[in-house]
């Protein structure tokens, strides 16, 4: 397999929509547009950060990409091939995997660490002998900084940070190319968080991984990501290089989101003029027409209520969806 033949875009999603039906009465249901017409690509070897507030659909995007939810419409293209049939999905899941947010509920309390880590190997039948399985487990534990003596223990014997390491070892078991990291550090203490972030960096270098890194902590996302996508109420509003989006955010929502980040520096904090948004995020069941942000936006005009503005390239590699740009 030559490297040149491989597609430069590892993951591509086109017009992805994910609607959930929510019961609003005894016989009535209404669609909740968790993800509404989102398109982006993730290049091989890069980390794409996906940020937004709770309810914006960032986790749903991650799960829909892995086909944990069946997309309502839209295409997911992995390495040049669309993922549609069941056999596509099975093959795809040998290459793509996920790390979950909560290290407490994502590990089975009745399984030993070695069984947890080896479960993907068992599922995909990826070893020939017991010896090979054991060696692979120890190799994986080494990757994430766990000792071999931890293998026969149970998850409850570990702290949050160590549990997250077990979860990461499990997702590395199938030798993935692509990992969806869904808030992998938000449940951890600051000092442990930094250890895990560094580990993600090192593993990416060593194993050539591609990440979709979902988080709400913008400083963490900025640190780890090459490019960042910002979502609001199911829609993608801005996408650009990590540094570019922090230094020159263009969409009014990204601007206020970034100015709201509490910078751990008292002098900057005193000088900083925040754009404090008024009001709350509307319920996704009653999303405003047109641009979803218009109800909280200082620049909203009548035009914004008519249709969602297109995501357009405002400078090289910097996309934003806003009428004022």
């Amino acid at each position: 397999m030559s490297e040149q033949q491989k597609n430069d875009n590892l993951v591509e999603i086109r017009h992805l929509k994910e609607y959930f039906n929510v019961n609003v009465g005894f016989f009535k249901s209404r669609p909740l547009k968790a993800v509404d017409d989102v398109s982006f690509t993730i290049k091989r070897g890069e980390t794409l950060g996906l940020v937004g507030e709770s309810g914006c659909g960032k986790t749903t995007v991650g799960r829909t990409i892995l086909n944990l939810y069946k997309p309502t419409s839209g295409e997911i293209i992995y390495d040049g091939k669309p993922i549609k049939s069941k056999s596509d999905i099975k093959g795809f899941r040998k290459k793509a995997t996920m790390v979950f947010q909560d290290p407490y509920s994502s590990l089975n309390p009745r399984m030993t660490v070695s069984d947890i880590i080896a479960e993907p190997l068992d599922v995909h039948d990826m070893y020939k002998s017991k010896e090979e399985r054991r060696e692979r487990i120890l190799e994986l534990m080494g990757y994430v900084g766990l000792n071999s003596e931890h293998a026969s223990r149970y998850a409850h014997e570990f702290s949050g940070g160590q549990r997250q390491r077990i979860g990461i070892a499990r997702s590395l078991a199938i030798n993935p190319e692509f990992i969806v990291c869904d808030e992998p550090v938000s449940a951890l203490d600051v000092s442990i968080q930094a250890q895990v972030i560094n580990m993600f960096d090192e593993l990416q270098e060593k194993l050539g991984l591609t990440y979709l890194f979902i988080a709400h902590d913008l400083l963490v996302v900025r640190h780890i990501s090459d490019r960042i996508a910002v979502m609001y109420l199911g829609k993608l509003v801005e996408l650009a290089d990590a540094k570019e989006i922090y230094d020159h955010p263009q969409h009014p929502y990204s601007k206020s989101l970034l100015s709201a980040v509490p910078v751990p520096d008292p002098k900057t904090a005193r000088a900083n003029k925040r754009i404090v948004l008024s009001g709350d995020i509307p319920s996704p069941l009653n999303a405003p027409s047109g641009c979803p942000f218009r109800t909280r936006c200082a620049y909203a005009t009548a035009k914004c209520a008519e249709a969602m503005p297109e995501l357009k390239e405002i400078s090289s590699g910097h996309f934003a969806a806003c009428n004022i740009l």
Partner: protein
């Protein structure tokens, strides 16, 4: 005399596995109109310190020593009758989770009025007016309509505003905020912090802000206490803590957080995992994780040393540096 003086506070939880010293000799002052931040990781004792001040510890928890003085009045051992008068009236607390701190079966108005009727001599109509006034103060739209609604009709940010309104209704001298924005989104967090800052300036109360987020501390706090394993590592002004940290734990904490200035570099995390409070080491509790630990750190705990008038740290490295300096001066 300071508004609040906490001296050598010790709080333990008596569990089946043994005594857990959750707060182990904490001392600090809080002056009128100041914002004091208490930072630390989970299990550092920051919340227990606050609960000890309010004396709302869970069943197995007990204050085993020290003193807490509010305007000179001793609160440790003062009895439930005195504390009832102080809680919600002179010291108020808001909790982390606005979803569970309100009673779902009563209207917001009823819950707001309850505190006012209990602590002030107002009659029902006056209490209602005061509740509406408080909702206006925390920027809740249409307060009269909101008074009749139930908590489930409010969003997270709105509920936290109601909690703040409730806590401030009796004009307390001290507001304790226990991770008030941790459960909220960034833009809502910014709203709540702005609101707390404005109210603090307007009403002149003192705030104890308990958080694990150094970003939040930088936004609002005048003074900061850094806690680890039940004791204070370092205390000082916000600027001293952020720009001139003198305890290895504080330094580690600051270099663990991604900022705009350590772009592209690896973070420098603290190695190891937080300490088990049941198995406390003899020396400095941070020594097992400290890269620069010396022999004495494992044997003995360092006393808090004054670095300048408003900056103290309990780290042997400061003692060593000072001795070196003195030695050099003596030669």
């Amino acid at each position: 005399m300071s508004l609040l003086e906490v001296k050598d506070l010790r709080t333990s939880f008596f569990t089946d596995a043994g005594e857990v010293k959750a707060v182990n000799g904490v001392s600090f002052f809080l002056d009128k109109g100041k914002v004091l931040g208490i930072v630390g990781e989970s299990g550092s004792g920051k919340s227990v310190t606050a609960y000890s001040i309010m004396q709302i510890l869970a069943g197995t928890g007990k204050i085993v020593g020290g003193s807490i003085k509010l305007n000179g009045q001793e609160l440790v051992g003062a009895g439930e009758k005195v504390m009832k008068d102080i809680r919600g009236n002179r010291i108020s607390i808001i909790f982390q989770d606005p979803m569970t701190s309100l009673n779902p079966t009563y209207t917001i108005g009823k819950q707001l009025m309850e505190a006012i009727l209990l602590h002030t001599g107002r009659n029902k109509q006056e209490a209602y007016d005061r509740a509406v006034e408080m909702l206006k103060l925390v920027n809740v739209n249409e307060p009269e309509k909101r008074m009749k609604q139930y908590p489930h009709e409010f969003s997270g940010g709105m509920r936290q505003r109601v909690m703040i309104a409730m806590a401030l209704a009796c004009e307390p001298d001290i507001l304790i905020a226990d991770e008030p924005t941790t459960a909220l989104d960034v833009t809502i967090q910014a709203q709540i912090i702005e609101l707390m800052k404005d109210l603090q300036e307007e009403l002149g109360m003192a705030i104890i802000m308990i958080t694990h987020d150094l970003g939040v501390v930088a936004q609002i706090c005048d003074e900061v206490i850094v806690m680890y394993a039940g004791s204070i590592c370092e205390q000082g002004t916000a600027d001293a803590i952020f720009y001139d940290p003198r305890h290895e734990y504080t330094k580690g904490l600051l270099s663990s957080i991604p900022t705009t200035s350590n772009d592209g570099e690896r973070l420098r995390p603290i190695t190891g995992t937080p300490i088990d409070l049941l198995n406390m080491p003899k020396g400095c509790p941070f020594a097992p994780r400290c890269d620069n630990a010396m022999k004495i750190c494992l044997r003995e705990r360092a006393d808090s040393m004054q670095i300048d008038p408003c900056h103290k740290a309990a780290c042997w490295i400061n003692v060593r540096d000072m001795m070196k300096k003195e030695g050099a001066a003596g030669e």
